[in-house]
């Protein structure tokens, strides 16, 4: 049975680092569900948040192999209870002028934003944890959703703990 895991990785900001990390997953049959990379506060380093899917039996080994990479300063597993997680998504909905208000209602309940509007379509932006975005996707799916893109999960450890 496969499971999803969220890993935060603090790495040297150098070419090739992402390939080494991707190979660590690919070699053991893990699929990357989402991946976010950006410069860290100190530009010598980058932070990655990676959501992967694979067998729980291999997960501990993968974390050890990630930590073994010379360019990885640390890699750690996070549960939602010990960290704040956020994702952003854009949805394009094809909707006629008469039915727009239904969509706006949903946008309001979800505290999302309309960022583009034409005669026949809307683009909606939202930020939140993954389950909120999943829920919005389900609802908009019944209202003419034609495109969706998600940034993938970002996480930060709560309190004084290091991410």
């Amino acid at each position: 049975m496969e499971e999803q895991f969220t890993i935060s990785i603090f790495v040297n900001n150098k070419p090739g680092v992402l390939v080494r990390i991707a190979q660590t997953f690919a070699r053991r049959g893990y699929n990357v569900a989402s991946l976010v990379v950006s410069a860290a506060h100190d530009p010598q380093f980058s932070r990655m948040t990676i959501v992967v899917q694979g067998s729980p039996a291999d997960f501990d080994q993968i974390l050890r192999q990630l930590n073994k990479l010379v360019d990885v300063v640390h890699a750690s597993h996070h549960e939602s209870s010990d960290s704040v997680d956020r994702e952003m998504a854009l949805f394009k909905v094809e909707v006629s002028a008469e039915r727009r208000s239904e969509v706006f209602q949903v946008v309001e309940v979800f505290r999302a934003k309309t960022v583009d509007i034409t005669e026949r379509s809307l683009i909606i932006e939202t930020t939140g944890n993954s389950s909120k975005i999943d829920a919005l996707e389900r609802l908009l799916g019944t209202m003419g959703l034609v495109e969706m893109i998600r940034t993938g999960k970002l996480i930060m450890a709560r309190g004084a703990a290091e991410t």
């Binding site: 090739g16 190979q23 930590n67 990479l69 010379v70 360019d71």
Partner: protein, 569 residues
């Protein structure tokens, strides 16, 4: 200084004495800089794979990193097998590859290959250096990474314009790698827990691997074994970490290990891995491996803990230091009944071979071991001869046994022996190779001849890829497929063509006389073509993927039908 001179200066700062190299367009500035290097010697090999194995043999025999210098494209990709071999067996290498000009990267320039990308899964770490001022730091880091912690190969890819650019940066005094920390000593609590478990054991076993060789932990392994009264088994690559002539030694364990080592494994109540990684050749069916024994695992690489076997205690650190810290915490155990049982197994199931019915590899290797008093540094290829050499050529000290274990690379033996001889000119170095593997790198005979290396090359020649043939016989109804080596050259004449002295053994009665003659010849390399019986099999054998207890001690009767192994290979 230009980039090329920085590379050579780095070699000199790291006390490199040999560079195993093959030139080409993209590394010419470095070859040029080598002309002025008085402290190190360039060895021109005949193929980059040969050069990489040579550096590997040098590294395993001396403990110092082996250095390879090759050109871009095919020159660099020819090192890939050597990198894999070194990576699997934790051998320190620094491989410098020339690369096309920086402006041409990614444009399919002549002899361009994405070597940084191609080699990534088979190196400990790698660099593509685009700024010459990074080069002093990168070279220092490369040697540090290759030789510290769990050693391994490090590749440095240097575009030709970086080699000729002027460098203003100095070599750093220290390496600063926040992602690379080596823990050499473990927590006192874990040591105490280990000691308590050991003190409760009645049937302990020390299972010693390559990590103990790399750490030079032979002295501590011996001290622990003798203090506890515990038997010691060594892996293929752990050979020499404990003298196989010692009464507490049960020799090699695993697929072709001794029957008594494997029986000891099955019956022990505590097994302590010292720099060994529970490889599939050792464990067979993992779920059936010592299910009731306490397992202790010492390793410098924490990624080995729980990879195959979940230990009761894991001790992360350098084997010699961990053992030194553990020694004062343990006392002698009452193992007399256990040792008596093991002595019975040794007596009942010794390693043996028929001395009649044709010339046998085992007989030659047994005699070689006797004549050399187990002093030889043995480099092997891969296959039946490798297993027979492991069984019959005893190792008594670290760095005396050079063999491709993890990767199982055919063609390793001859160049590795040459590298070892370069590094240890006063040692007796013997390449034990099969007729198949030998032909994969036989071109390095030229390197041996030019440098008059007194290497003894013993070709176990059965005109077969014997190990594959053995499997076909046992598990594939003897349907031979792609294993006959018809077309073998006359190896005696081949050696002569290189100006190398050579002998042939055809009969058992000639073994001692010919071996003595070859061992006495030290003016240069010598080759012995030993024409052995065609179809012989290596036993004992644990079929791949089977539990250790399913070991076949002897050849089963020809009518026996064996299940196809469930293990992958």
């Amino acid at each position: 200084m230009n980039g090329a001179q920085v590379v050579v200066a780095a070699f000199e700062r790291e006390d490199v004495d040999f560079v195993f190299g093959y030139p080409g367009g993209a590394c010419m500035p470095i070859f040029d800089a080598l002309v002025d290097a008085s402290k190190l010697k360039l060895v021109l090999v005949r193929h980059e794979q040969g050069g990489t194995h040579m550096a590997d043999g040098y590294a395993r025999a001396t403990g110092k990193p082996g250095v390879v210098l090759v050109t871009s494209g095919p020159g660099a990709t020819n090192t890939v097998t050597g990198l894999l071999t070194a990576q699997m067996d934790s051998v320190p290498l620094v491989v410098v590859t020339g690369q096309t000009m920086t402006v041409n990267l990614g444009k399919d320039a002549f002899q361009e290959a994405d070597v940084f990308g191609v080699t990534m899964p088979v190196v400990k770490h790698s660099y593509l250096v685009k700024d010459v001022n990074d080069l002093p730091r990168v070279m220092k880091e490369a040697f540090h990474l290759a030789s510290s912690g769990r050693p391994g190969p490090v590749l440095v890819d240097i575009p030709k314009d970086v080699q000729t650019a002027g460098c203003t940066a100095d070599f750093p005094d220290e390496v600063d790698m926040p992602g690379y920390q080596v823990q050499t000593r473990c927590a006192p609590d874990d040591l105490q827990r280990t000691a308590d478990l050991i003190m409760n054991s009645k049937r302990p076993l020390l299972y010693v691997g390559a990590g103990a060789v790399i750490s030079q932990a032979g002295k501590q392994v011996r001290a622990l074994a003798e203090k506890l009264g515990a038997p010691v088994t060594t892996t293929l690559l752990g050979k020499g970490a404990f003298p196989e002539t010692h009464e507490l030694s049960v020799g090699m364990l695993g697929m072709h290990g001794t029957a008594y080592a494997n029986k000891t494994v099955v019956d022990c109540d505590l097994i302590m891995a010292i720099g060994a990684r529970w490889d599939d050749r050792i464990t067979g069916k993992v779920s059936a491996f010592c299910p009731d024994a306490v397992k202790i695992h010492i390793d410098i690489d924490p990624a080995e803990f729980g990879k195959i076997i979940q230990p009761d205690v894991s001790l992360q650190g350098d084997a010699s230091l961990v053992l030194a810290d553990l020694l004062p915490l343990v006392k002698s155990l009452k193992t007399k009944p256990w040792l008596t049982q093991i002595a019975k197994w040794k007596q009942r199931h010794p390693l043996k071979y028929p001395k009649r019915g044709g010339l046998r590899a085992q007989h030659i290797l047994d005699e070689l071991d006797r004549l050399t008093e187990s002093r030889g540094v043995i480099a092997t290829d891969v296959g039946q001869h490798q297993m027979w050499a492991a069984q019959f050529c005893k190792s008594c000290r670290e760095r005396q046994w050079l063999s491709s274990g993890g990767a199982g690379t055919m063609g390793y033996g001859l160049p590795a022996a040459l590298g070892a001889q370069f590094g240890c000119p006063d040692d007796l170095v013997i390449a034990v190779v099969g007729d198949g593997g030998f032909q994969m790198t036989q071109f390095e005979l030229a390197t041996a001849a030019i440098h008059k290396l007194p290497v003894k090359i013993l070709v176990i020649n059965n005109s077969y890829l014997g190990m594959v043939r053995q499997w076909q016989q046992l598990f594939f109804d003897n349907r031979e497929s792609g294993v006959g080596m018809e077309g073998n050259p006359d190896f005696v004449k081949l050696a002569e063509a290189y100006g190398i002295k050579s002998f042939r053994i055809r009969r058992a009665g000639d073994i001692t006389r010919v071996l003595k003659k070859a061992l006495d010849y030290n003016a240069g390399p010598v080759l012995i073509d030993a024409v052995v019986v065609k179809a012989d099999n290596v036993f004992p054998m644990i079929p791949s993927g089977a539990p250790v207890s399913d070991m076949l001690i002897e050849e089963p009767p020809p009518t026996t039908k064996l299940e196809k192994p469930v293990g992958s290979t």
